[in-house]
């Protein structure tokens, strides 16, 4: 979605560079639509996390932590299920520890995706202004710097996601 919106953004800049006002406006609108769809998916994702008590804090609950043998005061009981699923590594975390460590992951998850989403909302705001200006015919092949700048910002947000995606969604997937 985001890579696609980077493409449409690049096309919008190209439209401005080649004096195609309508094309610029259309590509910008398409970029905003793709960005909004991305944010929509994010909303569904967040709603799902809330539903499953994966938001760090008082109500955080990691299902695996409760499937694991009750820890009680002893910290010796390993999570049998986790250890069985991953025989090649020593996963000796009890329920309480799993509860703690997964919470760290979800804290990072919400901070990073949240900050990224905030940047996207700002980006869409910038693009609304740029689209309006392009509609008024303020840009041409001689002067299109604002379109280019908005594009740079949008590409930057895309680059951040290129790194965040494997970091947050694909870590330890192979185990």
């Amino acid at each position: 979605m985001l890579i696609g919106s980077s493409l449409t953004m690049a096309m919008a800049v190209r439209g401005a560079q080649t004096n195609k006002r309508a094309a610029t406006v259309n590509w910008l609108i398409l970029t905003m639509i793709l960005g909004t769809v991305f944010l929509g998916v994010k909303v569904i994702e967040y709603a799902d996390k809330f539903e499953h008590h994966h938001v760090p804090g008082y109500n955080f609950q990691w299902a695996a932590a409760h499937e694991a043998p009750a820890a009680g005061g002893e910290h010796a009981a390993p999570a049998a299920e986790g250890a069985a699923a991953e025989p090649h590594r020593e996963l000796a975390l009890n329920g309480d520890q799993l509860q703690l460590t997964t919470q760290i992951y979800f804290s990072l998850y919400f901070t990073m995706t949240g900050l990224h989403a905030l940047h996207m909302i700002i980006g869409i705001g910038i693009m609304l202004v740029i689209t309006w200006m392009a509609w008024k015919g303020k840009f041409d092949a001689e002067y299109y710097t604002p379109v280019e700048m908005a594009g740079l910002y949008w590409h930057f947000v895309d680059i951040v996601w290129i790194f965040l995606f494997p970091l947050l969604y694909l870590v330890e997937r192979h185990t």
Binding site: I3, S6, L7, A10, E148, I159, P166, L170, V171, H174
Partner: protein, 101 residues
């Protein structure tokens, strides 16, 4: 400011390359490479980011000063991440009480 106008075909090519690399990233994540999974994912991501910076952000056609500025940003980012990772990697050096034994 009337910069270089890239052909549409180039943009499409870069887009397709980025999509293919995304699929490769996902595929690579399911292969057990031990601690190299992270490295592979980051190398692919770095390559993708380079494509975006070089072609979508038009750095390829920019002045040497712009290129130097971009390189400076990457350089300082590397310093910051390097220091962060030094801290992270050395966490186990001391025998401080930790919630995980």
């Amino acid at each position: 400011m009337s910069g270089h106008v890239s052909p549409v075909s180039l943009y499409i090519t870069i887009f397709l390359a980025l999509m293919v690399l995304t699929v490769v990233t996902v595929g690579a994540a399911f292969v057990d490479l031990g601690q190299f999974n992270f490295l592979v994912a980051m190398i692919i991501a770095g390559f993708k980011a380079s494509l975006v910076i070089w072609y979508f952000m038009h750095v390829k056609y920019a002045s040497k000063l712009t290129k130097l500025t971009v390189a400076t940003g990457v350089f300082f980012l590397a310093i910051l991440l390097g220091l962060l990772l030094i801290d992270y990697a050395s966490k186990g050096f001391t025998s401080m009480p930790m919630p995980l034994s």
